[in-house]
């Protein structure tokens, strides 16, 4: 059997489909994007080499407002780490200590993750609707009619209105990961601490949290890179408007490439996004390592 299993022909044959797909669609395009980012190109005609001009323009042009978009997505990342994750962690810790209805709570909390972002977005458009939306109807019914406004249509409120569902939808995802971690804590550890008279809070603080640190790290990485990549919900709710107040890098990337036909510029944004995602992932890993040392 050893001889058959070392046969080069079979090895190549079995790997081929996956390698073609993977390299063709994921790996080669990264190189291609990096290459395109040095050109001015409308996607069809001749490419003009412009060195780093796309990058320069991106960071200096007021029209593209890339810096604002970047600020928005970093703000989303911060909210995600400091609001969404703590909530998810609290839920995971609570559900993790065998309470009644654990499965039901867990399953319902995770449900929004499975529903298409377009559906979630369309529902929230209806919730925010200026005249008939649930939010304004509710405000009017409790006598706060002055607070009613077109939430998604005003540049002061649009960003917050977009962030709320974005953060809400993925609480369940982080909760599930953290919950799996909490469940993997050996019961003996917990019991021993309880016998020593530790309170629930102390058990969480000194036993559970240190134990699930690797999962917290993964959650933080997902929260940050997920925020940097955010697209679907923002595209559905505002597509970057009003007055570019809710723009994020992905929405600019798509409109640059496919509306303005600036493929070089679109690629530039893609390259920056990939670099940022990997950079932040490395940074977060380093921070967690540092703490362990």
């Amino acid at each position: 059997m050893k001889k058959q299993y070392s046969n080069k022909f079979y090895i190549a044959l079995f790997l081929l489909p996956a390698l073609i797909l993977f390299c063709g669609v994921l790996i080669a395009p990264i190189g291609a994007s990096a290459y395109f980012s040095f050109f001015d190109w409308n996607g069809i005609g001749e490419k003009t080499y412009v060195a780093f001009n796309n990058y320069k323009e991106l960071f200096t042009s007021d029209q593209i407002s890339f810096l604002k978009a970047l600020r928005n997505s970093l703000l989303l990342a911060a909210l995600s780490v400091f609001l969404q994750l703590p909530l998810a962690l609290a839920l995971a810790l609570t559900l993790g200590k065998k309470i009644k209805g654990e499965r039901l709570f867990l399953s319902v909390y995770f449900m929004p993750v499975l529903i298409s972002t377009v559906i979630i977005g369309q529902l929230w458009i209806k919730i925010y609707d200026p005249s008939y939306g649930l939010l304004n109807v509710f405000l009017r019914s409790i006598g706060l009619a002055d607070w009613c406004r077109p939430w998604l249509g005003k540049k002061e409120t649009a960003l917050a209105a977009v962030f709320v569902p974005t953060l809400w939808q993925y609480v369940g995802y982080h909760m599930l990961l953290l919950y799996a971690g909490v469940k993997s804590v050996p019961p003996e550890l917990r019991e021993a601490a309880m016998l020593d008279g530790a309170t629930d809070g102390q058990v969480n603080r000194y036993i559970v949290l240190p134990y699930i640190k690797p999962i917290i790290r993964i959650s933080v990485i997902f929260a940050v890179t997920g925020s940097l990549k955010a697209f679907d919900l923002i595209y559905v709710l505002t597509n970057g408007g009003p007055l570019q107040s809710t723009e994020v890098p992905s929405t600019i990337m798509v409109s640059m490439t496919f509306l303005s036909n600036r493929y070089g510029m679109g690629s530039t944004i893609a390259v920056l996004l990939i670099a940022l995602c990997f950079g932040f992932a490395l940074l977060i890993n380093a921070v967690f390592k540092e703490e362990e040392a």
Partner: protein
């Protein structure tokens, strides 16, 4: 002490219950307004059950709104993606865990890179390539990228399961005269059912909900998938909420149905994809 902890546990349940309502309410609201008339939605009966169950909203979404077509497109794309992903992943995993060669650990790590590469990375080059090959506006424009992006997760899951199949099975099959193909198809693949289910479900959910590629690579309305179709439909019926609600409900129904029956399996597949990545 007793009283205090009782009060605390009541507070915890109240909190959990509030969050439960926040998560259930949008879906409840969607299903109820999908069955209401504008008059009810806009004032008479905003959040209650429909007074009059307006099933005609659903037939309007299906016929005038073309939801049936979008539904079919999504189903075709998802099915093809699942089949291709599974075939490629099972074969690759077999080579990565069973066949004997140097560097298979390195290649495994290489495939795992895919768990972190964002789809943004490839959108421009893939679009340009599809354009040149005249493949925009075909099902393949979605099936191929979706399969590629599902691959890493699929290999990850399959590796876990395949490593648990005892190698003695391969040996005895070999002694019985099975070749490599025979071992793969007759012994390994039939034992991979749990992995196939996990990968299938996860891939299905990813394709069913994907928006960015579906929006950009497909412009013919006859080929739209559900997310893009729903998006277009809401643009048309801005003032008529009932049929939109029906469209949203139709698009969500398969996912929820799957979740009701397979909630544990679905949750496990999400955990599997994350914890290694």
């Amino acid at each position: 002490m007793r009283n205090k902890s009782k009060a605390a546990s009541i507070a915890i349940y109240v909190g959990l219950f509030i969050w439960l309502i926040i998560n259930l309410f949008p879906v409840y609201w969607m299903f109820t307004f999908s069955l209401k008339s504008n008059a009810e939605i806009f004032g008479k009966n905003v959040i209650g059950l429909p007074n009059e169950w307006l099933w005609s909203n659903y037939s309007r979404a299906l016929h005038t709104g073309n939801m049936g077509r979008y539904f079919l497109n999504s189903a075709i794309v998802a099915t093809a993606t699942i089949l291709i992903t599974l075939a490629a992943a099972l074969m690759a995993t077999f080579a990565l865990t069973r066949l004997i060669w140097k560097r298979r650990k390195t290649l495994n790590k290489f495939f795992m890179l895919g768990l972190t590469i964002p789809i943004h990375a490839s959108i421009v080059p893939v679009y340009v390539t599809l354009y040149r090959l005249h493949m925009l506006d075909t099902y393949w424009a979605l099936i191929i990228p979706y399969s590629a992006f599902s691959l890493s997760m699929a290999i990850l899951v399959c590796t876990g399961f395949m490593n648990e199949i005892p190698r003695e099975l391969d040996e005895s099959a070999c002694i019985d005269g099975c070749g490599v193909w025979g071992i793969f198809f007759r012994i390994i693949v039939p034992l991979m059912k749990p992995a196939v289910a996990t990968v299938g479900i996860y891939t299905f959910l990813q394709c069913w909900n994907e928006l960015m590629f579906a929006n950009i690579f497909i412009s013919k309305s006859a080929l739209r998938t559900l997310p893009v179709g729903v998006q277009a439909l809401s643009g048309q019926y801005t003032t008529d909420w009932g049929p939109i609600g029906a469209a949203l409900a139709l698009a969500t129904f398969p996912t929820l149905l799957l979740y009701v029956f397979l909630s544990k399996k679905i949750q496990d597949s999400f955990i599997a994809g994350a914890v290694k990545g």
